[in-house]
């Protein structure tokens, strides 16, 4: 069948994948609603947007290249500390701070990718975990640089574009985080709907066979891992800049583990999975912990178990399956 198609079929295929669907446009318009409807929740919204970006970065490697990482917060933290230190030592301009963070996290990602691309399965998970924990210990013992356990003091973010000051209500923080999320989302969308993205999915499905059809698995993994690390670094920098606080928890194991839960909850390998996961997890957490500060874990647990039981492959995965069944019948 493929033989009878004209030779620009791949181009058409990619074109059809990259067209924006209505539901996507509605989704992005809806992200603007908090400005009008929930102005009291903008700080939460900005932190959700940051977590969503972080989850998107994990999705690039986990959902599209099959690299399960339990140490992704390492890059989040490197980015956060890069931006935080830059600001502390006199350069609080936000946009260049993000660039510096992405470069710093990207370099660390590139360096570790040489190890990462050689391993699969449990060993890979444990190596990412090990690197993350080592970095956490390193940041703790380098207290002269990172401020150690007490956190880095003295971060001051300058006005955005020299005009908009980060306010107590979070208007600027949310607009800023959302804009960065959107730009990087568009980038990620292009990336995974490119031939490169397609070959990544091939690697996820069969690591050994891909090189045989001309896609170098290891080189591709190194590339996507570096991109993902840089993106996580930007997320970290956003959090450091918008909150002007930073401590070791930003690169800790708990953040990595929570991120994995968020992405899997939303649905890995579906672009919007991390976004939906971040929204649902963080809103549920905020609501439940507001009512029961001590026992909200219980309800989050119930949420996770329920989702697994009725919607396998995460919320989006499950919904897609239900929708497919519904349209068939």
């Amino acid at each position: 069948m493929a033989l009878t198609r004209s030779f620009d079929a791949p181009g058409l295929y990619f074109q059809s994948r990259t067209r924006w669907r209505l539901v996507e446009i509605v989704f992005w318009l809806a992200t603007l609603l908090p400005f009008a409807l929930l102005p009291d929740y903008l700080i939460l919204a900005s932190q959700i947007a940051i977590t969503a970006l972080f989850a998107l970065s994990l999705d690039l490697i986990l959902g599209y290249a099959g690299i399960v990482s339990l140490g992704h917060a390492a890059f989040f933290g490197v980015g956060a500390y890069a931006a935080g230190l830059l600001s502390k030592y006199g350069w609080g301009e936000p946009i260049t701070g993000l660039l510096a963070a992405s470069i710093a996290a990207g370099i660390v990602g590139y360096a570790t990718s040489f190890v990462i691309c050689r391993f699969r399965h449990l060993a890979l998970i444990m190596l990412t975990l090990g690197f993350g924990l080592m970095l956490e210990e390193l940041a703790n013992s380098a207290g002269w640089l990172t401020g150690g356990f007490d956190g880095l003091q003295g971060i001051e973010t300058w006005k955005l574009f020299g005009h908009f000051e980060f306010d107590l209500y979070g208007y600027v923080a949310y607009a800023y985080s959302l804009a960065v999320l959107f730009i990087l989302f568009v980038f990620a969308r292009r990336l995974i709907h490119s031939p490169f993205g397609l070959s990544l999915r091939g690697i996820r499905e069969n690591y050994v066979r891909m090189p045989a059809i001309g896609a170098p698995s290891r080189a591709h993994i190194r590339t996507i891992y570096t991109i993902s690390a840089a993106m996580a670094g930007i997320a970290g920098a956003l959090l450091a800049q918008t909150t002007e606080t930073l401590s070791l928890d930003s690169l800790g194991f708990e953040r990595s583990a929570e991120l994995l839960v968020i992405l899997v909850l939303g649905g890995a390998g579906r672009l919007y999975g991390g976004l939906v996961g971040a929204m649902i997890y963080m809103i549920a957490r905020d609501r439940f912990s507001g009512v029961e500060p001590q026992y909200w874990y219980f309800w989050i647990g119930v949420l996770l178990v329920t989702v697994v039981m009725i919607l396998p492959n995460g919320i989006l995965g499950g919904l897609a399956k239900l929708a497919a069944r519904w349209s068939r019948s």
Partner: protein, 287 residues
Amino acid sequence: MLPPIFGVLFDGFAYGMLLFLLSVGQSVTLGMMNFINLAHCSFAMLGGYMTVALMTHYGWPFFATLPCAFIVAAVVSVGFERLFYRRLYRASDLDQVLLTIGIVFISVAVAAYIFGTEQKPLPLPEYLRSSLTFLGLRFAVYRLIMIAIALAITALLVLTVEYTRFGARVRAAVDNERMARGLGIDVDRTFAITFALGSGLAGLGGALAVEIVGLDPSFALTYLVYVLIVVSVGGLGSISGSFVAAALLGISDVAGKYYVPAIGAFLIYLVMIVLLMWRPRGLFGRR
């Protein structure tokens, strides 16, 4: 008189056995059944609370509570297995992660609700807290007991898995479920029993660990990393692998903290990374 290096080796080995006791159940569920059970330490915590409650409120002697910790964790886990786990044996790893993390969260909240957030001390008799002196070195009685139990469990499990009919069934069911069913093996039951065994061992490990590492609701999360490290370094599907890995990690951790305390915090992770880069399937891994 023995030089201090023997003391360090003994402490390290004993610490390793603590890690082994905490993780041996996981090398059954994750290692043999291939199920990513992050709720492992929740079952360990259950065993710990069982032992503490029986000793504090009912005055049971410590050793009598240990079988109880095993049985309660095993029985409760079968309930979970029937309700949840069974439906995810063939699901993706990620769904297993999500389910079991959900169970961890629930268990943490339930433990805080029932037992409170404070540390629960284990009221052990003084003779278990004493130590023996041998050739100028002191050996803690409790650590000796832990080592003995760890050795006994290893021997029992290895014998069961390698030499009994049940062990053969488990291996068959994990390696090729359809074929095993075809041969008339009751796979469901085999899995349920294996899962109960793993969780029971978790409960036992938890009960034994309380004396050294304490017990509060965050137990279910705190020791998870150590358990995963031991099982992955040991190699999936190998009990003796976990044993060797735990001993190696324990000794290097204690030796590192003794001789070079500046890198003490890194060492256990560093050893794991080096070992896994050398042998990605773990020391004795089969898969």
